[in-house]
């Protein structure tokens, strides 16, 4: 995060720009999260990621209306375009 201190980042998209080629964490609408390598983005937050892992957070509700413990469904994709209108946040993943 030296770039933040050095003032290289002047607007939000600059943070995303610095993450190009790096692994990122994405939060999407519909209780989905992704991690993957960021290869492209635009002002709508349309994205292209590779080696993607998707986690869908699901809470099943029984017939009596009680919620079961949350469970996570996982999927993997080798190359993925994500439409920007689903994107909530983009964060660099420091491994």
């Amino acid at each position: 995060m030296e770039q933040v201190a050095a003032g290289t980042i002047s607007e939000p998209l600059d943070l995303v720009k610095l993450s190009l080629g790096e692994r990122v964490f994405i939060k999407l609408r519909g209780d989905r999260t992704l991690t993957g390598n960021l290869h492209a983005y635009d002002a709508h937050m349309n994205l292209v990621l590779s080696q993607v892992e998707e986690n869908i957070h699901i809470v099943d509700v029984g017939e009596d209306g009680t919620a079961a413990p949350p469970r996570i469904e996982r999927r993997g994709f080798e190359m993925l375009f994500i439409r920007g209108d689903s994107v909530i946040l983009v964060s660099p993943l420091l491994e």
């Binding site: 609408r29 519909g30 209108d85 689903s86």
Partner: protein, 94 residues
């Protein structure tokens, strides 16, 4: 949008944002995906089979259109829709 031009005067299946399925002949369209369909039939999917509801001539506002598909009429005619049991399609959620 010009991709839709190829469907004019063909039988198409339109899937709407709320998950409804409408089949009809595409008579016209504009750049907003507003559609004119003649001899429309709504196909109501349920676990009891598909119910066909005739609707007539429709203008569908483009905002509601999710997918326009060209029907294979031979294949469509060979399917017994009373035997197709499935939940209706979900709505498009943002």
């Amino acid at each position: 949008m010009s991709a839709v031009e190829a469907y004019v005067d063909h039988t198409v299946q339109v899937i709407l944002y709320d998950g409804r399925v409408i089949v009809g002949k595409l008579r016209g369209y504009d750049p907003r995906t507003n559609l004119i369909l003649s001899d429309c039939v709504e196909r109501e999917y349920s676990l009891e089979g598909v119910e066909m509801v005739p609707l007539g001539l429709y203008m569908i506002k483009g905002d509601n259109v999710a997918i326009i598909g060209e029907m294979d009429e031979d294949k469509d005619g060979s399917i017994d829709y009373t035997e197709i049991k499935a939940e209706p399609l979900g709505e498009i959620r943002l």
